[in-house]
């Protein structure tokens, strides 16, 4: 206490000056508009800078925790994105409906499941190789489908393997129609993007628009009617201008094709025997 009193006594002059000057400046900034505004602006700038430093310091300290939270949120969001992407993919290819519909349509067919062991999508005439052959009941001219739609037609078969001519082959010619109409044409692939093919010979009086579904017409014994092929993305005029040519976004992604099914036609035996009879007569 004595020390404090001695200190105050020693520096009373300076403390009194600080007190009186402080009171004067308080009056100056409090009761004078101009000086008050200058003080307010400067004080704002200073306090703003100090608060900014404080905020930077605090946010630096809590960086580790925030990092963990962000990582967790990231994982959740990645999962969500993956799920949404799959959902979108399925929705675009209408696969859920397609699968159900396929099951209905193929109820009378027996199917031989197979795996794609050889594939190409970058040639003008692409072929698939599957690991089922004649011993499994696979014969040429049989249709091949997958979970999302039509794949192609068996081209050649050996005992254990078969070559399939997919839609991505310049010689492929599958009869298809636009769902909801009776207009049909032949689906051909003209090279280029492996997800797009052309459906030609659609008459010009047909009322068509983008987004319409293309399915098998059933005009061959290979595929039953109604199997999902793809969706119309563009309606163009044919080269000769006499019909429409539809650009079809194929539902089957041939680049990622793994599991397929060969449709063993129930009337295949009858058709085979008829053909044999004709050849014998020749």
């Amino acid at each position: 206490m004595q020390g404090l009193l001695d200190f105050l006594k020693k520096y009373s002059y300076g403390l009194l000056f600080i007190l009186l000057e402080g009171v004067s400046l308080l009056l100056l900034f409090r009761f004078n508009l101009y000086q008050g505004s200058v003080w307010f602006t400067s004080a704002n700038a200073v306090s703003g800078r100090v608060l900014e430093w404080e905020s930077d310091f605090l946010s630096y300290i809590t960086l580790g925790e925030r990092n963990k939270e962000l990582m967790q949120k990231n994982l959740v969001l990645e999962q969500r994105v993956r799920a949404l992407t799959e959902l979108l993919d399925r929705a675009g290819h209408d696969s859920t409906y397609t699968e159900l519909r396929q099951k209905e349509l193929l109820a009378d067919f027996s199917m031989v499941p197979a795996e794609v062991v050889g594939n190409s999508v970058n040639k003008h005439n692409n072929y698939l190789t599957i690991n089922k052959g004649e011993l499994d009941g696979v014969r040429p001219e049989m249709g091949v489908v997958c979970g999302t739609g039509v794949v192609g037609i068996v081209y050649q078969a050996s005992s254990h393997y078969a070559i399939v001519m997919p839609l991505l082959n310049g010689k492929s010619n599958i009869s298809c129609r636009v769902r909801g109409t009776d207009y049909f044409g032949y689906l051909r692939w003209e090279g280029g993007h492996p997800l797009y093919a052309s459906l030609g010979d659609i008459p010009r009086h047909a009322r068509l628009k983008e987004g319409m579904t293309v399915e098998t017409s059933g005009f061959s014994a290979v595929f039953p009617a109604g199997l999902f092929v793809g969706k119309v993305t563009k309606v163009e005029n044919s080269e000769d201008g006499l019909s429409y040519k539809l650009q079809v976004n194929l539902s089957t992604d041939f680049a990622r094709l793994r599991d397929v099914c060969v449709l063993t036609t129930p009337n295949r035996v009858e058709i085979d025997s008829l053909q044999q009879k004709i050849e014998t007569e020749k």
Partner: protein, 167 residues
């Protein structure tokens, strides 16, 4: 001592009244306004305690603020001037002078007294200007005001001292 105190008090009152009623309305060429209440610091004897200097400066400055409606401006500048006044006085005071010497023409000598008053007034004007303007926006105008007001104040204070000294 009490007589001296009341005498200074009377001087302070007179200076403030004249400052508020007369000199605050003088603006030579739009620049120069005399400030004569600084003279109260020139009336403090050599042996005035330092806290008394401060209190005198604060009180007179606050008094001038009442007249000029600038609360705190005069008080802040006069307190600062009062802080430096004892040191300035000692610069001009001869070593063999009396302790209760009151600065004046006779006690300090003509030129020394003029020097003392000049420094006090310059310090006072500088602090008033800085607190009033808070920027160097129009530096030339500020310089004219500063020099003009200072010159006028010095002349008036010297005239007052001459009058007081002749009594």
């Amino acid at each position: 001592m009490m007589q001296s105190f009341f005498s200074r008090l009377l001087w302070a009152f007179i200076l403030l009244v004249f400052q508020g009623l007369v000199f605050n309305h003088i603006h030579f060429f739009g620049y120069a306004t005399p400030v004569i209440y600084v003279y109260i610091l020139c009336l403090q004897p050599l042996n005035t305690s330092r806290w008394a200097w401060l209190l005198w400066g604060f009180a007179v400055g606050l008094g001038s603020d009442f007249f000029s409606e600038t609360p705190g401006l005069g008080a802040a500048s006069m307190t600062l001037t009062a802080l430096c006044a004892p040191q300035l006085l000692r610069l001009f005071t001869p070593k063999d002078c009396l302790e209760d010497m009151v600065p004046g023409y006779r006690t300090l000598g003509g030129w020394k007294y003029i020097g003392y008053v000049t420094l006090l007034v310059l310090l006072q004007e500088a602090s008033v200007m800085m607190l009033e303007v808070f920027s160097f926006f129009s530096a030339l105008d500020m310089l004219y005001t500063y020099l003009g007001s200072s010159a006028l104040s010095i002349v008036l204070i010297l005239a007052l001292e001459r009058m007081r000294g002749n009594k």
